[in-house]
Subunit: 294 residues, 2 copies
Amino acid sequence: MATVIDGKAISQTIRSQIANEVRLLSQKYGKVPGLAVVAVGITKDSPRYVEMKRKACTELGIKCLVVELPEQVSEAEVINQVHDLNANPHVHGILIQLPLPKHINEENVLTEISLEKDVDGFHSLNIGKLAMKGREPLRLPCTPKAFLELLERSGVGIKGKRAVVVGRSNIVGLPASLVLLKADATVTIVHSHTSQLENIIREADIVIAAAGQPMMIKGSWIKPGAAVIDFGNNAVDDPTKKSGYRLVGDVDFEEASKIAGWITPVPGGVGPMTITMLLKYTVEGAKRYIEKNN
Amino acid sequence: MATVIDGKAISQTIRSQIANEVRLLSQKYGKVPGLAVVAVGITKDSPRYVEMKRKACTELGIKCLVVELPEQVSEAEVINQVHDLNANPHVHGILIQLPLPKHINEENVLTEISLEKDVDGFHSLNIGKLAMKGREPLRLPCTPKAFLELLERSGVGIKGKRAVVVGRSNIVGLPASLVLLKADATVTIVHSHTSQLENIIREADIVIAAAGQPMMIKGSWIKPGAAVIDFGNNAVDDPTKKSGYRLVGDVDFEEASKIAGWITPVPGGVGPMTITMLLKYTVEGAKRYIEKNN
């Protein structure tokens, strides 16, 4: 049976360290770190994601400013909002809830976030530095930072391992691939145009599942002893639940946990860790800003 | 036997089109496109690379400004030089001959090139846009652009194919991987920390060899019918030659050409095509600049 990597417990440990940092900043400077979350329109999952961030901020003493904009808002108005937040001294991290509605160009908006406040790490300049050897991004994007922390704390090495990243989204798959490559893994990126997916995944010592397909990766696709990181966060109907749904990953957890060496559960795996990294970056940014401007 | 992709002949076709463009610009505006090549210190291969570029420019009527700086020059002086070239209206493309001496930070220099004149396409912002879905770089870096053109003109499709990139340099391996991924290949990047290299390469429909190791990829590693693109450009001793050396690729051409479906030779494969793309970008840049400022 696989070791289940408890992202929730590891998150709690890190969050209590962050809460300490927040207290110290407050005692020393009387200042509170602030995170702005910009949500445009309402998608299926966005209220849940925004609420998780708001709640996590509150627990740690971080001010969370949620900016909700209607679906029909223009790109220019979103960019204006970003400029206001860039200039706001009480905001140290800016997160744009993705995806944005189709009429708004994601890159145009993300590029306007000041690099210092880009706590997601998705600015093109940051990604370019992440991709190239000998260049250092200001920070790793939250998603790969989350699983790197989990692997490290679980004693799973990356160097020289075969890693397969399932999905190539800007939010998870692509930055995960770049980070694994920089950590000296042999990286394969598979996606909707890949044939014989199972055979490729079966060779992986490390599987990063980020396809957004409920339980698509079966237990029999996993190499015995592999580390399986599941970024899937899919709501599936479940009439036995009060909410009417339950969350499942991209991996069939029940099957895979019998074969893998390590596995992250959904919920309680990379989800809380990704938010924890966001909070960590926000507080680090606040610290840099407050110490510089005090 | 493999179809040998004649990069030299394909280059000639494209270069005569570029020469035409240069003539038109000269007739219409009395202006000549200019490429600046900055070479710091002398490495084993750099004089040969610089000379190839100078010769190619001259043949097409492009002005080539070679800036040779001594090995001991400071980073600040190189950056000053870049600023001068950015401001120079007769220069439409700036190429820094890589690698730079160790005391100079490559990124610090490349970041200073204005995006419009970055004909190599290695600016972090350009690479970040190349990496991310839905974002478009100003131009593809010359090296992947070169092999994309060769594959396309040879009728080799990329979508859904297994591609293996051998090497992860900033100049070839990394941008090649990103471009293949954007073209919907399933991409694996292998490097010095990869074990069982042969087995991975044997699964590739497309092999991009960019390891800088003379003839390291053997014929028996190639999947029958695969397309093999060889970026190797290694000088090996050869007393039968007047120069005392000959150029070989990273692939054992004699063996591999019996098994592959398509293969690029060394010399005469991607080498001339990469320079051709550089010339093409320079003339495109010149055209944009001249038409805007006339």
